[in-house]
Amino acid sequence: MPDKEKLGVFFGCTTVGAPHLLEGLVGFLVKARIDYVPLGKDLCCGVPLLLAGYHREAGAHVQRVKKHMVEAGITRMVTSCPHCYLMFREGFPNDFGIELGFETMHFVEFAVELLNQGKIKLKLHKDMKIVYHDPCGIGRRGPGLHQEPRSVLASCAEVVEAERADKLGTCCGGGGLLRASLPKLAVAAAKRKIIDDYLNKGTDIIVTSCPFCTLNLTDGAGEITERGFNVFDLPMFLAENMEEE
């Protein structure tokens, strides 16, 4: 065990590419007074290469990513992107035989830890209702983090459930490079999901823990005329709803 933790935060290209997502994550880290080494601001984890079928090229790319991380000398890493998370946890060792030698956490796990340790505290909103959208990457495709994000949100407001949630939660339509290949189809999927699952839940706040879900649900919500929705990535939401000391 190293004496002192050196925490890396891997930003991921989707968060870096969307100013409000980046602002939300950085805002959280500042407010929570997290000491961290920023990583992946100009370097992709390699997932898009795998999703495009460029397996061989991804093999060379991940060596660059590994070097970037090893040079940073971190002992633990957090990322808010489920796809980066899965890449480090599963893709690196299973597809490329790379052991990073430190643990990678998803932001949801990190938030649970900070709350449990009393390092952050959320403002209590008595009348606020939130619906949580399960991203596939940390849900059914990954470690099944369904209760954890809900428990974080429940310390702040009432969490209401869609009929289909958790492992069977319907997809936002934003993954698998669909936002690149058929953006209108991706957004139509998000719109349909919100109408089917969230329109009659008595809330206009959707929180999720994936930059792709956040962007796609935001675009889908933008096409709904019946009601406006506010879609948050978890870091953004926590940054806005944290007690400041």
């Binding site: 992709c44 059914r140 997809c171 698998g176 490079l177 999927a189 349909r192």
Partner: protein
């Protein structure tokens, strides 16, 4: 180098194909008829399936047992085909092996010939052969007898769901096309529309020369095909004409009658039925020995039964450790109803096979890599279908694997290639523009 020139051509072709596909998908997104019909279909499917699974909770255990059986069969397909053929021949049926669609069509041409009328049961496998147009080209007349297929045939369209071919057609459109055939105004009442189809098709069964069908399962021990249905058209089509011809994909093989019964239960429940109205089990032509124990074939049912086993890429898929999973598909259609993408565009996302599972089926069985390439980029890879599928097929994983094959063959659409090259050259898919 000529290799490069060919590569460039392929890239251009794939971009053209992708752009045409994109236009089609975006048109479908604007189709209000489609939207209405799919919304109705998805919501009734969900209700029915929940009810069927709640009424028979033990189906979950049966599903697991079925998977073990199917996986064993997939690993020994050739052996099971040989056993099923032997059993059928013993039962006085004629059997054939078609390595691909054109071989199957040659066999069909030999059996059916020309100038015949064919009554046809719903069969997605027959789409691989483009059966209807092949038969019409050789001077035959085909009547689709499944109500959904009949509607599609009259509309001149293609099936948009493996179980519910006319899933995208709302009653208003059906009434319109039936009115044209009937020469009088038809109401939009589903009952009246169904009665019209019933009357229209009734005498076709008895005047037809050939009945054509697929099968949901076929057993290796007895050569028995299982045909599951609700409408009763399959019973007529496979029973009234003198000749019954069946084309059966190799993945439909089951070791024994009791295994097929297990498959039957699982398939019905996951397709949203407590029980279907009919299951026909056909093992040979009709026969009698009632006059002096002398066997005469063609008592009341067909005199001849011809069974064509269709490979068309299945054996190759079965040998691949990733792709073999797709042969588990029971065609319950649940993955398509429950998909985030499919209900928005229906079978426009597909070729003969549709939706996520349809992508590897298009690539390996019916269509080929070029047809599959645009389809492979329509999936959000969310993996929800794996949770829904009774056979646990991970279509997202199969599509990821396919994208690797597409890359190797130079069939990556331009914008995907650009993004990948940006990662390779600059480290990120969104390089800063300065």
């Amino acid at each position: 180098m000529s290799g490069n020139a060919k590569g460039a051509e392929t890239t251009e072709d794939i971009n053209k194909a992708f752009n045409a596909y994109k236009r089609k998908i975006y048109r479908a997104l604007k189709d209000d008829f489609l939207k209405t019909a799919l919304e109705r279909a998805v919501s009734s499917f969900r209700k029915n399936r929940d009810a069927a699974l709640a009424a028979f909770p033990e189906v979950e255990g049966k599903r697991e047992r079925l998977l073990e059986i199917k996986d064993e069969v997939i690993c020994n397909l050739a052996d099971y085909v040989a056993r099923a053929r032997e059993a059928l021949e013993r039962n006085h049926a004629k059997t054939y092996y078609a390595s691909d669609a054109s071989a199957a069509n040659e066999i069909l041409a030999d059996i059916i010939g020309t100038g015949k009328t064919i009554v046809k049961a719903k069969s997605i496998t027959s789409e691989e052969l483009e059966f209807n147009s092949m038969m019409e080209e050789t001077g035959n007349l085909v009547w689709e007898t499944d109500l959904g297929e009949f509607i599609i045939q009259l509309l001149g369209e293609k099936p948009m769901h493996i179980l519910a071919p006319a899933v995208h057609v709302p009653r208003e459109r059906t009434a319109k096309v039936f009115s044209e055939v009937a020469g009088r105004e038809m109401p939009t009442d589903p009952e009246k529309l169904t009665m019209f189809a019933r009357e229209f098709l009734r005498d076709k069964y008895f005047s037809a020369d050939v009945g054509f069908s697929g099968a949901n399962f076929i057993t290796a021990d007895t050569g028995t095909m299982f045909l599951i249905e609700n409408e009763g058209n399959i019973r007529f089509a496979t029973n009234a004409p003198e000749v019954h011809v069946a084309v059966i994909g190799l993945e439909k093989l089951m070791p024994s009658l009791s295994d097929a019964m297990l498959g039957l239960e699982v398939l019905m429940r996951y397709a949203g039925y407590l029980v279907t109205s009919y299951v026909s089990m056909i093992s040979g032509p009709a026969k009698t020995g009632d006059i002096e124990k002398i066997t005469v074939y063609g008592a009341h049912g067909p005199r001849e039964l011809h069974v064509i086993f269709l490979d068309n890429g299945r054996l190759k898929a079965a040998r691949d450790p990733d792709y073999r999973e797709m042969l588990r598909c029971l065609r319950c259609g649940a993955c398509m109803y429950e998909c985030a993408i499919y209900p928005l565009v229906s079978g426009h996302w597909g070729y003969h096979y549709m939706g996520g599972i349809g992508v590897p089926w298009t690539a390996l069985i019916s269509g080929g890599l070029t047809k599959a390439a645009p389809l492979a980029y329509s999936c959000a890879l969310c993996g929800r279908c794996k949770e829904i599928c009774p056979a646990g097929i991970d279509s997202a994983k199969l599509i990821e694997r396919l994208r690797r094959d597409l890359k190797r063959e130079g069939l990556v659409p331009g914008f995907i290639r650009k993004m990948a090259e940006a990662v390779i050259n600059t480290g990120t898919p969104y390089p800063k523009e300065d």
